[in-house]
Amino acid sequence: MELLLALAIGLLTTCGVYLVLRERTFPVILGLTLLSYAVNLFLFASGRLSIDAPPLIAAGARYTDPLPQALILTAIVIGFGMTAYLAMLALRALSESGDDHVDARQEDERP
């Protein structure tokens, strides 16, 4: 379980970092999305992994730490809003310069 999760986080981060370093805006947005998935899984693991346990504290019963789940919910909402805004901004840069490069140069500025 731990190994699987660690591998998944590592793979998502690798792909995310690679895509963020691309020069066009669409892969960059995808890369940021993958990175935020990796971060959410990482936050999830910070409360220790326990299988088949509810995030509720009842006397004596087994439970999983509820705090990371609350943190992830917040992080998902924020990440979603940010990504939506970035997509809008990228679309506007595309319509203003006719180009989807991250630095959105106009035709005459290109060497």
């Binding site: 990482f42 809003g81 940010m82 630095d103």
Partner: protein, 508 residues
Amino acid sequence: MSQHAPILPILIPLLAALLLLLQPRLPFQRAVGLLASLLGVIATAWLTLLTDDGTLRVYALGDWAAPFGIVLVVDRLAAAMTLLTALLGLCCVLYASGGFDAEGRFFHPLFQLQLLGLNGAFLTGDLFNLFVFFEIMLLASYALLAQTGGLARTRAGIAYVVLNLLGSSLFLIALGLLYATLGTLNLADVAYRLSLPGMHHNGARLALALLCAVFVLKAALLPLSFWLPHTYAAAPAPVAALFAIMTKVGIVSLLRLQVIAIDPAYPDLLYGWLSTLALATLLFAVLGAIAAKDMKTLSAWLVLLSAGTLLLVPAQASAEISAAGLFYLAHSAFAGAACFLLAELIGEQRGAAGHTFSTGTNRLPAWSGIAFIVLAMTLAGLPPFSGFLGKLMLLDTFRGVEAGVAVWTLLLLAAFLVMMALARAGSILIWENAPGETPSPDLPAAASGWRRISATLCLIAAGPLLALFAQPVSGYAQRTATQLHDTRAYIHGVLGNDPATIQRERRE
């Protein structure tokens, strides 16, 4: 009533932003925006007076006590920073009411949300809550930056958003690591748990180092500072003026984290590299300032310069240096903001040349020349204004420090080069005329409007005023720094007198 004072700097902009969404008509927007900013100044001034008695005010949201609930912790530093933000915000809103707010529909609500994020980031005592307020502040700043269109702003916006999203990911990783190793995200509790025997994990050290990386990204330390000049130069003037305090959020957060949590547990974590990189940032910013081709870019480089200077402070973790740094912080926030506003006003008077350093038609009214000279003297650190006093205090406190010689050399060199850059800017902007074109008095000067002029002059007047009231202000900075460095009082103020009695689950 006064026990609810800590929440006011957050509630006022929140309610104002919601109210502003109801009615898009401009007079309503302006009235509510200005009123809310004025109320913000009154509330934060009251909070500053209240906290000056030296007690730590802890406001438990929803009455859940720390470390389980989220708390706002108000000491002198937090209160003074919210007051600084509120004053700066009021001037920016007043300036924007002079015509800029008509360009983008949602300027006023977004501006209030940014004030909310800034105030929250200064007040909160919980690290995850700090993340949330950072995001509120950033989201508002993204929208404010790119709201009024133009390819330059969109382009700067994309780079700025992508970089800050990466910063946010790093922030969350740091928080996850911190929670995994220490089991808490409350700053006082983090410091307390780090002081317990057997808690010095490498994981916690890594988490704190990552948090520092996020804060220095916001504060624009050298390898992470390339985004700042073109983003700030592309931002509209009143927005850029408020951005001048956004780098300060990173610096204040770093200072607090360093003093309360890092320095007692890992005194070597920031020691070597932060001072070196801060000095490198200083040098980089000075070179940029000399090379700047227009006034707004020059202003952006000067913001970076003050960030570089201020980043020297957290590395030392000494109360005297922090006190000098806080005085310099107040000075540089006002002077940096004023620089952006004055750049736009002067640019509008110069016709096609705008605020670029090229000869243009010169119809500048006399007040703008005088304002420029006062501002330039403040920024360059010439006596008798606040820049001189701030730098003097910093230099004085850095005498005994190991890196003192390097700090002295570079700060003085930077002051000299900034003076040169500003002298060149002033002589081109104010005196130089295109050949053959004599300024004719019949041409009507572009109307600046009393709102914009008074907002700019208020910010510029902060330089002389801070110098005039230097003694009470630096006395307050001393008390602030002493309280900030009293780590025991902070931990006990938040967690109660005996943190060991807090019942926690055992973690394996």
